[in-house]
Symmetry: C2
DNA sequence: TATTGTTATACTCTATAACTATA
DNA sequence: TATAGTTATAGAGTATAACAATA
């Protein structure tokens, strides 16, 4: 026993994983609060983003991207449609499915959503300078890669766009 | 218009907050899977940790630390008690409340839990070397501080030990 | 009267499977 | 028969408030 009293190098603090979980939950809460101000749930937001990127997809396809089951999309799309944000257009090729489209109002709200997401990120990372943000972003991407998540977040097998910002 | 085509410096990628949320959810899932192997839910794990650190607290106190409502603790403690991990001891000073204690089995399981938590963190951060882990840990602590969470994770107003690792 | 623990009730969210209409 | 969407039902999880025992 040569080392007498090191300043606690013992366990490399299992707090980092813990912190990551806590911060993730906090970020999700904050995001939910922010999008609520423009009348959206995080899931709504995910749907709008997916439809913005991939107009015309079916409900099943959207369900897959949101990581949920098709039956749950019915009420979600009903709601978005009732609010005039999304349209259900019967596919001409295969009249069993819909081709979901953003309306003009939906597109406008998506733009607002992007602003909100930017503000959210800025608020969340306000204590970091630009360099630190970059480093954090790279480290998180590295962790995500190790976890089998794409660098953008979603897992390869079941990309889940419902777990938002 | 002097700048013609910069390589996309436009938005500083709102993906970092998004990634943080996704990784947090992923870490929570993984942790839940790991503790399930020793028969615990994340909430159980939080209760054991809290009782390890603060033996003799009441159910209300424990509820506060777990960020839940007292009524929900009844079933939780019932379960832990039935499995012989926790004891309800009537307080001699104030016979309205219990002084919750870990049993020997509970203490042993808590030790196992710590091993599991270490393995969890190691698995999660496996793509990072020691330096990177340290940097990540510091950056996350900084973000947590800005978010009003203590450096250990929990929010000052309602530290939530149920959102685990 | 106030407080701890408890129970009862209702509400939300979700998953599963049955149903329809198209193919 | 197989698939997209829908509906119905049941289950888990949670919050709220009423209740008994003790202070």
């Amino acid at each position: 026993m040569t080392v007498a009293s090191a300043p606690r190098p013992e366990r490399p603090s299992p707090r980092t994983a813990f912190l990551l979980t806590q911060l993730g939950a906090h970020a999700a809460d904050r995001f939910a609060a922010r999008v609520a101000e423009i009348g959206l749930t995080p899931r709504d937001a995910g749907a709008l983003r997916a439809l913005g990127r991939s107009p015309g997809i079916s409900q099943r396809e959207l369900a897959g991207r949101l990581g949920t089951v098709p039956s749950r999309l019915v009420a979600l799309v009903d709601d978005l449609e009732n609010r005039g944000l999304v349209e259900r257009v019967r596919s001409a090729k295969d009249r069993r499915n819909y081709e979901l489209q953003l309306t003009d109002a939906g597109t406008a709200l998506l733009a607002q959503l992007r602003t909100v997401a930017d503000a959210h990120q800025d608020g969340l990372l306000k204590t970091l300078d630009d360099d630190e943000r970059l480093v954090l972003s790279r480290l998180l991407a590295k962790v995500a890669a190790g976890a089998g998540l794409g660098p953008d977040g979603h897992p390869g097998y079941a990309r889940d766009e419902s777990r938002h910002d």
